[in-house]
Symmetry: C2
Subunit: 198 residues, 2 copies
């Protein structure tokens, strides 16, 4: 059975795919708005992992609403959660998708679906939503990452990733300016997968 | 690396071991108080799965305190959580244990460790606490169970399992009587693993 794994090219979504690979046929899915070539970035990481990969174009209205939310809030949490929610729903809408998975860990607070959101998606679209890393803490994830993945790490403005934040930052840069990005997004360490340890 | 998986002989702990088996050396661990031969019950299920299995005797004081809690409360939640917490701690105390895992699912409310309890155990004992099924809903678990396990299901008073509830019920039966069990424990479906689908 196919599992569609939301894929940013980072270590968490990559490890999630590796955990599920023993039990399902993995298809990595990168969701984006074509603001930046994040599909290509993700495709390179997917090729290193050896999984099939597709790019799913999300409705531009989702980006517009996320932009409004983040500018109004002044912090990214609700906007990122909104995009993630819509990405899971868009993926779940596909007739050939029955398992939607992502790389959410135990300690993650953003993005995060609430239990009622999850149950609603599973009921409305007839899918299973699985987070293979939800029961793993940061240290346990890092232990498995060291065992299976070669990664590059850096500050979030240095590592170009195929995640929701990357395109949201770019839209803010284009419409408001670079300074606004630093004001809204806290600097944090990002990872990008560059190889698989066999 | 070894992963010590708390094992009741039921489908959730069995499936957790199967999920982890691809990445760790599995040792199933059944915790109990020697009130009933639950070690033997679990050993039979473990043999069907083909994993090594040990029985860990918990301190009788834990059972005494759990008995006090459940009689005072009139419902099992806090007593079961208390035993589970102490079982994880007792297992984590062992020098050769670095990964403690259990079969908690996304929808489980009992037993459940809180985030502060988990962080405290991981910090104090230098272990990773992993719940491989924490990101799986009931339907996704059942889908995998059908693929990998042969199980027997029945009401909780019919299926003798190697879980905390089984011995707690027995102590209540011995000290207070059968009627008190029905008063305290809601009837619910239990599972016992009787085979592995290869």
């Amino acid at each position: 059975m196919k599992a569609s794994v939301l894929f940013s090219g980072g270590k968490d979504s990559s490890l999630s795919a590796i955990l599920l690979d023993k039990f399902f046929d993995i298809e990595l899915v990168t969701c984006g708005f074509s603001v930046l070539p994040i599909g290509d970035i993700a495709q390179k990481a997917a090729a290193k992992l050896g999984f099939s990969h597709v790019v799913l174009k999300l409705d531009n209205e989702i980006l517009e609403k996320a932009f409004s939310i983040v500018v109004k809030d002044g912090y990214p949490k609700n906007a990122i959660n909104y995009i993630h929610h819509k990405a899971v729903e868009t993926l779940a809408l596909n007739d050939d998708v029955t398992i939607v998975a992502d790389g959410i860990r135990r300690d993650d607070r953003v993005p995060l679906l609430t239990d009622p959101q999850i149950r609603s998606i599973e009921d409305r679209y007839g899918v299973h939503y699985i987070c293979p890393l939800r029961g793993y803490g940061r240290a346990a994830v890092n232990m498995l990452v060291r065992q299976y993945l070669v990664i590059e790490e850096g500050q979030s403005d240095e590592i170009l990733k195929a995640d929701y934040e990357t395109e949201l930052r770019e839209v803010i840069r284009q419409r408001i300016g670079q300074d606004k990005i630093a004001e809204i997004f806290p600097s944090h360490i990002q990872s990008r997968v560059t190889g698989l340890i066999k």
